[in-house]
């Protein structure tokens, strides 16, 4: 095997949070029309799955793109601890934007990119339920 083989390592994290989809720029009627049940005043919650895909050269000493324990430590500290069992609308990241899962995915991509100890963040997938998910890709592009 070449010393410089590039592979990707994926890891799934779970967090539960509440949110309410409501745009300040829209009227009450427009919000109900745009967001339906998701606009209910007291919010609701999801069990989110955040799937992180990190690309990089496989280290010839360890056989790893990234050490799982180091990845877990970084993601738990910067992402899971921040959002798990919280109300997304109250997080500073959503002061000026609606916590749709699209926006959540983009926020998470930025936070995870900053927190990554090594490697390149290729993709973040956020699953809101078993039936819907959203993906954000790195600037370098994903060749899948």
């Amino acid at each position: 095997m070449s010393a410089a083989a590039k592979a990707s390592f994926g890891r799934r994290f779970r967090l539960s949070a509440s949110h309410r989809l409501h745009a300040e720029s829209l009227s009450a009627d427009e919000n109900r029309k745009a967001y339906g049940k998701c606009n209910n005043p007291h919010g609701h919650g999801h069990n989110y799955v955040v799937e992180v895909l990190v690309g990089g050269n496989v280290d010839t000493d360890t056989g790893m793109v990234i050490n799982l324990a180091e990845l877990d430590e970084a993601i738990v500290r910067h992402v899971v601890d921040r959002f798990d069992h919280q109300n997304l609308n109250l997080d500073p990241a959503f002061r000026n934007q609606v916590p749709t899962t699209e926006n959540f995915c983009t926020v998470l991509f930025g936070l995870i990119q900053d927190a990554l100890p090594v490697g390149e963040l290729e993709r973040v997938r956020v699953e809101e339920t078993e039936n819907n998910f959203f993906e954000c890709y790195g600037v370098q592009g994903y060749r899948g």
Binding site: M1, V58, D61, T62, G63, G144
Partner: protein, 141 residues
């Protein structure tokens, strides 16, 4: 272009150990995975091939053929084996059987059969060590 994926599962044991390091450093870097008695996983192998559907059959590849290739080239060597002790590429002083290296090695085992068949190309090999942990290799350096 259509991307077609087939899954298969295999169960194997392994441990992580770098022969050039002290026992202490191996334990520090690899943690529980450095336990020399090994441990095991139920792995899932996902193989994706890419190509255009055949004008007559409508197939990118025949799924039965792909299943047979996966079983012959990968599962026959890895399933119910101790990767470090029984699989050539993961022998002492060779590759550490991390999920990343298993994905790369599976690619190398599959590639010749897929190339020689002509048609679809191997696009991605993804290996799940657990439902929460996977590695993938898309070829190249």
């Amino acid at each position: 272009m259509i991307f077609l994926t087939r899954r298969a599962t295999f169960s194997a044991s392994h441990y992580y150990w770098n022969e050039h390091w002290s026992a202490e450093k191996n334990k520090q870097v690899f943690g529980r995975c450095a336990n020399r008695n090994g441990h095991g996983h139920n792995y899932t192998l996902e193989v994706t091939v890419a190509g255009e559907p055949d004008a007559v059959t409508g197939f990118v590849v025949d799924l039965k053929w792909l299943k047979d290739v996966m079983e012959r080239e990968v599962l026959a060597a890895y399933d119910h084996r101790h990767l470090n002790l029984e699989v050539e590429e993961f022998g002492a002083g060779k590759l550490i059987p991390t999920t990343e290296n298993i994905a790369i090695s599976a690619w190398k085992r599959l590639q010749p059969a897929i190339v020689s068949a002509g048609g679809a190309r191997l696009s991605r090999v993804r290996v799940y060590e657990t439902p929460e942990i996977f590695a993938e290799y898309r070829g190249g350096e």
